[in-house]
Every structure is written in structure tokens, then in C-alpha cells.
């Protein structure tokens, strides 16, 4: 390595390692934050208070109500006298869901018809509501098939077996992996941005500009410590993932390699932010302006499929989305490079121009 670049890299490494607070924060992001977020953000429906309105009062209707209440998903919030009362309970928060079995339910069943039952859901948290809706439909579906198989009287309707409850933990795995990906994004963007803006604030960046050091060399040196730290931090995260029971079906080496590619594109965003910020405060605010849309568009918080068409297209520009696809692909599906290369290519294709833009902006300052 040429003297200048070696000097820059050594300097960056010393500064990075000397900043204990930063090191602890990085480690925190990759471990404890992952645990907290996974536990907190799980939209699992569990013991959701359910108001039941049984207007039919027949064995069949009781069996249906029972089949809701035996699951982990729902717990009884009491019997309401009418649909109106149930909706009052929903309003008051006493119940988060209500099941209304109409009069003539058993008779309709016996005739081989498909009587409608009404399910009211508190849609305040749409994710939870959607989840609950899914469960409710499943329960009703199973009830229907069991009664169809039985005598039709509902007499033989056994309480439905324990509900299919996230058997392979796809949701937890998804959450753990997306939090690790988010940590990589935050570290990749904020570390280099902060370190460059700090040089601006102490005036050393100007001092560098009277030395033969070139902008590209400086930015390259800023990338390396973040890259190394980002890759090393993956290992404690792996432990967390293992603890949550997330399987690693693909190649770890491939994961590390593609993580490096992702980190470079995140660093490019950080460097660009540093190029246009004058103070640390500005850089941090700008980082957050960038991080939030990237996070929301990536599918971490809400599924990409449920977004409007425009946003779905826009989400392709979020490096986090591609990294998430890579991470989920390697861990859960055991995907290899032959399946993931388009994502990697897009990461490179977004990172390189951003880097170029940042170098150009830095260069312009001297003009």
C-alpha cells in the first residue's frame, strides 16, 4: 500500500478503536438491539381478547365459539348480548375482536349450506388485525371441514386441535435477520458520516487538503474500518440468531461476502451525507432522514407486497431491501450466489455512483 493510504488507514483504525462509546454502540446495535426489537416488534397474535355473540345458542354455534377460544390466539373477553354490545366493547378496548354467530347457524349447517359468521376486528394495528383475521379464517375453515366430515349435526365436532402457531418461527427468524440487516445499515451509514464531519469540525480536513492526500484516498480510508467492524459484528449477531433458533441453511462465506458489498453501498450513503453536511448535527439528522424511508421501504416493518405500486418500485432502490432478500435467502432458503447475484449487482450499481457523487462534491469544495 502506498505510504499515504497506509498512513490514512492506520490513522482511521486508531481513531475507530479509541472511540469506546462508538464501539459499544456498534456492538449494542448488532446484539441487544436485535433481541429487543425482535421481542418487541413481533406482531404475533396471542391471547387476543375476543367478545363472543352467540345468537344461535345451539351445539354447533357453541362448538364454533369453543374452537376460537381453545387456541392461543384468542382468549375470551366475555359474552356479549348483541353485535352492538360487542362493538361497544371493541370501542372501549375491552375486546380486540368479536365473533358474531347468527341465528339459524346450526340449521343452515345441517342443510349443508355455508352460513356466514361475522368477525369484527380492532384495526388500530393493522398488522395485528391482519394476523388475527388469518387465524380466524383458518379456524372457521377447519371448523367447516370438521363438520362436513362429521354427521352434520355438530354433535361430533371436537374442539379444534391447537392452532397452527407459527410452527417454524418464520416471523421471529424474519425479525432477527431484518434487525441484523438494519444494524449493518445504521453502522454503515453513520460511522463514516460522523467521522468525516468530525474532521470538518476540527478543521483537519482542510489541513489534509494542503497535503498530497487525495479525496478518494481519504474516503477509501474512511470505508475500511467500518467495513471491518461491520463484518466482525456479524459474528455476535450469529450467536443471537442461533439463540432465537434461526437456521443458517446457506453459506456463511457468501453471507459475509455479500454483507461486505452491502456495507460498501451503505458507506457510500454515509460519505455522501458527510459531503453535504457542515456539522455533526446535520449529518445525523440527514442520516435519519435517509435511514427511515430505507427501513420502511425495505419490508422490515411492513411487507413490500402490501405497499402501493409506486412504493414497491421505489423499494427496489433501498439497499436494505436487497440485503434483506440476500440475508433471508441465505439463512432461510439456503440460496446461493446463482439466485442472489441480481441483488448484489444492484447494491454495487447504487453504491458506486453515490461514492462518485461524494468524491465530486468534496472536490468541488476546492473550486
Amino acid at each position: 500500500m502506498p505510504t499515504r493510504l497506509a498512513g490514512l488507514v492506520i490513522k482511521e483504525a486508531i481513531q475507530f478503536l479509541r472511540d469506546r462509546v462508538m464501539l459499544i454502540l456498534v456492538l449494542w446495535l448488532y446484539t441487544i438491539e436485535v433481541v429487543i426489537c425482535t421481542l418487541a416488534l413481533s406482531f404475533e397474535v396471542r391471547e387476543m381478547p375476543l367478545a363472543t355473540v352467540d345468537l344461535d345458542r345451539t351445539p354447533a354455534s357453541r362448538a364454533l365459539v369453543e374452537s376460537f377460544l381453545v387456541t392461543d390466539a384468542f382468549a375470551s373477553a366475555g359474552r356479549a348480548a348483541s353485535a352492538a354490545e360487542a362493538s361497544e366493547w371493541l370501542q372501549a378496548g375491552r375486546a380486540r375482536a368479536a365473533l358474531v354467530v347468527p341465528q339459524g347457524f346450526q340449521r343452515a349447517l345441517a342443510r349443508g349450506g355455508t352460513p356466514a359468521v361475522q368477525i369484527l376486528l380492532d384495526g388500530t394495528n393493522s398488522n395485528v388485525a391482519a394476523q388475527a383475521r388469518g387465524y380466524a379464517l383458518q379456524i372457521v375453515g377447519r371448523f367447516r371441514s370438521s363438520t362436513a366430515a362429521g354427521a352434520g349435526s355438530g354433535r361430533g365436532a371436537r374442539p379444534v386441535v391447537r392452532i397452527w402457531y407459527n410452527p417454524d418461527q418464520t416471523y421471529t427468524s424474519f425479525m432477527v435477520l431484518s434487525m441484523v440487516a438494519l444494524a449493518a445499515l445504521m453502522v454503515g451509514v453513520i460511522c463514516p458520516a460522523a467521522s468525516i464531519v468530525r474532521e470538518r469540525e476540527t478543521g483537519t480536513i482542510e489541513q489534509l487538503r494542503v497535503t498530497p492526500v487525495r479525496t478518494g484516498e481519504l474516503l477509501l480510508a474512511k470505508t475500511l474500518p467500518t467495513l471491518v467492524m461491520g463484518l466482525l459484528s456479524v459474528f455476535p449477531s450469529l450467536l443471537i440468531a442461533w439463540w432465537f433458533g434461526v437456521p443458517l441453511r446457506g453459506s456463511l462465506l457468501l453471507f459475509l461476502g455479500l454483507t461486505a458489498v452491502f456495507l460498501v453501498s451503505a458507506v457510500a450513503i454515509g460519505v455522501l451525507i458527510a459531503a453535504i453536511s457542515r456539522t455533526l448535527q446535520q449529518a445525523l439528522l440527514l442520516s435519519f432522514f435517509g435511514l427511515f424511508p430505507m427501513m420502511f421501504l425495505s419490508g422490515t416493518v411492513a411487507p413490500v407486497e402490501s405497499m402501493p405500486e409506486v412504493l414497491q418500485t421505489l423499494s427496489l432502490a433501498s439497499p436494505l431491501r436487497h440485503y434483506l432478500d440476500i440475508t433471508l435467502g441465505i439463512f432461510l432458503k439456503g440460496a446461493g450466489l446463482e439466485a442472489l447475484w441480481p441483488h448484489a449487482l444492484i447494491l454495487v450499481a447504487t453504491g458506486v455512483p453515490l461514492f462518485g457523487l461524494a468524491i465530486w462534491i468534496f472536490g468541488r469544495e476546492a473550486r
Partner: protein
């Protein structure tokens, strides 16, 4: 005053510790009402810490302080609500206007709304800020910002004003106005306590406290302090300055040497006096005579002799060819109609200038006169709007990598990496200049010895004193032996002895062929320079050596550089007509 104390300030065995080291130790200090007391002493002596303790911002780790009759720990809020405290540097809100800053200060100090308009008018008039009421603080010149800061500390008419280096980074004209405001304020019976590195400010005090390594080592009137150095100071005018250092080696009675522009002052231990052998050695170089001590001499005599941080002898490893630049240019600097605009504002206006190789050229001017912008243009840090410049035989312009290797630049802010050690900073800058490993090692060893930083290599820069940082910044800019060295306010806030030492080194660099361009607000330092350039509102209004600048003025030639400077500015102002006064 509460409790009927007869003193405004009363400190008893007060000390303050940071980690393992005591910044202030066993300080006993009494200040009576209406007194003006100055803290002087070497950099890092604890002046700022002591002021912060008195301002009830820092609690003493030992002893106690009473201010205005209140205890600084238990009744801190009573003290902070009453006093005025002006820290170093610029501490107002840059984006608020002059009026908004003052109004904010008045509100937090609970100045009655009925009295505010009158006080505002009076203070801003005194400060000469009435024409700039709606200008953002950050857009004011350094001198105006400092005056506004003083106004915000006077708005509640405090009985006690604590000032930390009020004149730091302020041009001589503004400094004069600042002191006029302080004198006015003092007539109201208030007490002023301040820290300073300007000896002319020290001489205004009723009483001085000389601090060294956290202790008050001497207190008294300026005259009494000077008397402590009586009989200790000898001046000589050597024909061969280089011989002085040799003559002074192995002379234990020597406390220090000051390289003044026209003489060398040797301070010896006043109890021992000048030994015969040393006198003989010095007389070989030129006539030696005893001299009445000045305030700077007091520094040399009072500070502890074994102070490693400020070796008063310029120690120099053999083979001082290291001082010589790697490239010897034909001309140091030459500019043609160099101009830089910021929007409609002409920061540097049509400057044509020539600095010969090996010359020390000082740029003098008020804050905002364009000195720093000119230096930044010459370093290639800013592109010129028009005109051209050649520095060390290289045309300044885009892609001038060759220029960067030939120049050294030390910015006002002593730009260093605060989280790296002294050694790591030096290593880094050596690699940035692509010095091969062996050469880098030699260069660093030399720079460390020359700038008196030996022994500090492993210390973190953030914990160094201002003067140590200054020397390190200089060392970093010298490693690659530049042909032209730009020093922007290199001596700002540095104690007088460190300044003398610094100028001695600059003199030696120049004698070895380095061209030096320097800015300073200590006008007496102009005497160290070969030629001066006076800047005013972006223009170079005069350039030449001191005698010719004096001679060019009509009438009686001004005695001091300050008067000369003011006379030229006056002439420039009247020369361009009344319009120039109001515009920035």
C-alpha cells in the same frame, strides 16, 4: 453582598483536580470591591480552571471559594445569576441577531423589561454595534462578536465580571475599544477579574496573580511583580545570534532566554546573579548590560525552572540543515490582482504582492480584513475569483499537487486530530506527505526536539494545552521541509515566552531559506518580520519594511506598530471616502 463579606472573592486553599492531576492547587485569593485583578502565567497554568471555579461552574475538589458572599458549591445559582462570565472564544448564538442575543441574555438574567431598551441602547452604542442590530452574530467580525459578548455580560449590571482571555483573537483596534468599555463599566464600581496573555492588559491591573502549574506563585501590583525580576535580566545585542545558544549551554543560573526582535534577553536566577564565566562568554558575542525587567521577564523568573513543557533554550540536534527547505524557489510568492468574492462581498480585493524567498512577511489587519482568505487562496484551499498567484515557483490552481509538497500551512485552529496522540499525529502527517519511513523518523525526532515537544509523544492531543497544540501544529507543518510556510495567527493565546521561542524558530527557518507568511494580532511581533503587509477591507493598503512604512506617512512618524497600523487604516478610510465605513 450577602453575609457582610468585605471581599468580592475569597478563595481558601482552593484546588481542583481532573483525574489524577491538579489543575489548580492551594489557591488563596482575596479580591476587594472595585479591584481589577489579572491572572497571568504560562499556558496550562490553571487560569481558566480558576476562573471557572470562581464563576461557580466548577466545584473545588479541595478548599472553598466564596464569591459575592456566597459559597460556590452550595449557593452556585445565586452567584451565576449575579456575575458576568465571558469564556474564551465565541460563545453567543451565531444565528441570532445582535438584538436577539442581547435580549436573550437580558431575559435569562431577569433584567426588567422596562429597563432593557435603555440598557440595550447604551451598551450597543458603547460597543459601536448600533448600525448592526439585525445582523446575525455569526456574520459579525471577531472584534464585534467579542464586544457583543461583553454587552451580554453587562446587561444585568453585574457587580463582578470574570473574563477569560477577552482580547484573544481580536484585532488591536477592537481590543482597544473592548478595554474602553471595560474601563467605563469599572467606573460604576464593579470588580473585574480576568486571565490574559497580553502583557499590556496585565499592566492595567491593580493587582496581578501569577499562576504556574495550578498555584499562585506571586501576587502584587504589576510594579511589585516586576521587582521580583530586578537584577535578573541582562540584555545583549549579539552580532551572531547563532552563537548565543552555544554560549548558554552548561549555565545552570540561566532561567531563560528571550529572543526579542532587536535584542536577546537572558534571565538568570536573581539570587545567584550573572556568573563571571557566563558574562565573559556572552561578552564575546556583544556588549552585555543589566536591564530593568518587563512583565515578560517576570514570566521567565517566576516560572519553575525545571518546567519541561517550555524549555527556554532552543535545543537543536546537530546538522541543522533540516531547517532548510527541500526546494529553493526563485521567488517565495508572487500574486497579480488576486481577488476573491463571496457573493457581493470582496474578501480579497485586487492584491498584488511579492514575497522574496527566505523572507518573513507579516499580514496585519483587523478581523475580517481578508488575511485568512488571502492565505487560503495562496495555499490553494480556495480558488481565486480572478487574478493569479505563484507560490514556491508553482502556479496556484486546480490539481497543484506539486504546490502541496512545497508549502506548509498552520491554520488558526491548530488543526490536529484531538483523539490521537502527539506521536500518532506526527506519524500521520509524515505519511500524508509521503516521507519514506526512515526520513519520517528523523524528521519527527527533529521536529519534536525543535518545538520542545519531547516527552509528550504519547499524550492525547485533546489533553494538551493551547501552546503545546500550537507547537505540535507547527511541527506537523514542518515535517516535509516546505519552501513556503503559512502561519495563520500562530501565536494567538500563547504565553509570551512561548511566543519568543516560536519567533526564534521562525527566524531560524527563514535564515535557512524558508519563506514565511504570518498573521498576528500581537503587533509588537511585526518587528520580527522582514516586511509587513497591511490589509484593510480586502485590500493590501501598504507593504514594506517598518522603516519605510514609517517614512511613507506624512508628519511625525508613529512610535509603535499599533499607531502605524491605525494611521494607515485611517488613511485608507478617508482615502476611499465615507462610503467605505458602513459596508462590510
Amino acid at each position: 453582598m450577602a453575609g457582610g463579606d468585605e471581599y468580592v472573592i475569597q478563595a481558601e486553599a482552593a484546588g481542583r483536580r481532573f483525574g489524577d492531576s491538579w489543575a489548580v492547587r492551594e489557591v488563596d485569593l482575596r479580591v476587594g470591591p472595585g479591584e481589577i485583578v489579572g491572572f497571568v502565567g504560562p499556558d496550562g497554568a490553571g487560569k481558566t480552571t480558576l476562573l471557572q471555579m470562581l464563576a461557580a461552574i466548577l466545584d473545588p475538589s479541595a478548599g472553598r471559594c466564596r464569591v459575592l458572599g456566597f459559597d460556590t458549591v452550595r449557593q452556585a445559582s445565586k452567584i451565576t445569576a449575579r456575575i458576568g462570565y465571558m469564556p474564551q472564544g465565541f460563545t453567543l448564538y451565531e444565528r441570532l441577531t445582535v438584538v436577539e442575543n442581547l435580549a436573550f441574555a437580558a431575559r435569562v438574567r431577569a433584567v426588567p423589561a422596562s429597563q432593557f431598551p435603555e440598557r440595550r441602547r447604551r451598551l450597543l452604542e458603547m460597543a459601536g454595534l448600533l448600525p448592526f442590530l439585525d445582523r446575525a452574530e455569526g456574520a459579525l467580525s471577531g472584534g464585534m462578536r467579542k464586544k457583543l459578548a461583553l454587552c451580554t455580560n453587562l446587561v444585568h449590571e453585574p457587580p463582578l465580571l470574570l473574563l477569560d482571555e477577552p482580547g484573544l483573537g481580536v484585532d488591536p483596534l477592537s481590543r482597544r475599544e473592548l478595554w474602553r468599555m471595560l474601563e467605563d463599566f469599572r467606573r460604576s464600581g464593579a470588580t473585574i477579574v480576568f486571565a490574559t496573555s497580553y502583557m499590556d492588559e496585565a499592566e492595567r491591573c491593580d493587582r496581578l496573580a501569577f499562576l504556574d502549574r495550578g498555584r499562585i506563585v506571586a501576587q502584587g501590583t504589576p510594579g511589585e511583580l516586576c521587582a521580583r525580576a530586578e537584577g535578573a535580566i541582562f540584555r545583549l545585542q549579539p552580532a551572531m545570534p547563532a552563537g548565543v545558544e552555544d554560549a548558554l549551554t552548561d549555565a545552570p543560573e540561566v532561567l531563560g532566554v528571550q529572543w526579542r526582535p532587536t535584542e536577546v534577553r537572558v534571565a538568570v536566577d536573581p539570587r545567584a546573579g550573572l556568573s563571571q564565566s557566563l558574562r565573559r562568554r556572552l561578552e564575546r558575542l556583544g556588549p552585555v548590560e543589566a536591564s530593568p525587567p518587563s512583565m515578560e521577564d517576570v514570566f521567565v523568573v517566576l516560572r519553575q525552572a525545571d518546567d519541561v513543557e517550555a524549555p527556554t533554550l532552543v535545543s537543536e540536534p546537530a546538522g541543522s540543515s533540516r531547517l532548510a527547505p527541500r526546494h529553493r524557489p526563485a521567488v517565495g510568492i508572487e500574486t497579480r490582482s488576486l481577488t476573491r468574492r463571496f457573493g457581493g462581498f470582496l474578501a480579497v480585493d485586487d492584491v498584488s504582492l511579492r514575497v522574496n524567498a527566505g523572507e518573513i512577511f507579516a499580514l496585519l489587519g483587523a478581523n475580517g480584513a481578508g488575511k485568512t482568505t488571502l492565505i487560503r487562496l495562496l495555499c490553494g484551499l480556495l480558488p481565486a475569483s480572478s487574478g493569479s498567484a505563484r507560490v514556491a515557483d508553482v502556479e496556484v490552481g486546480p490539481g497543484a499537487g506539486r504546490l502541496r509538497r512545497r508549502i506548509g500551512y498552520m491554520s488558526q485552529r491548530f488543526s490536529l486530530y484531538p483523539d490521537l496522540t502527539v506521536g500518532e499525529n506526527l506519524d500521520f502527517f509524515a505519511s500524508a506527505y509521503e516521507l519514506p519511513r526512515r526520513e519520517a523518523r528523523d524528521a519527527i525526532a527533529w521536529a519534536v526536539a525543535t518545538t520542545g515537544l519531547a516527552g509528550t509523544e504519547r499524550r492525547i492531543v485533546a489533553r494538551l494545552s493551547g501552546a503545546q497544540r500550537q507547537r505540535l501544529a507547527l511541527a506537523c507543518s514542518l515535517l516535509h521541509r516546505p519552501a513556503v510556510l503559512f502561519l495563520d495567527e500562530p501565536t494567538s493565546g500563547v504565553d509570551p515566552l512561548a511566543r519568543f521561542r516560536f519567533w526564534r524558530l521562525v527566524g531560524r527557518l527563514s535564515a535557512s531559506g524558508t519563506t514565511v507568511v504570518v498573521t498576528t494580532h500581537y503587533l509588537e511581533e511585526a518587528a520580527y518580520c522582514h516586511r509587513l503587509g497591511l490589509m484593510h477591507e480586502g485590500r493590501l493598503i501598504a507593504a514594506g519594511d517598518l522603516p519605510s512604512l514609517r517614512a511613507a506617512l506624512p508628519g511625525r512618524p508613529p512610535a509603535t506598530v499599533e499607531e502605524l497600523f491605525l494611521a494607515y487604516i485611517e488613511r485608507a478610510r478617508t482615502g476611499v471616502g465615507a462610503a467605505a465605513g458602513g459596508q462590510r
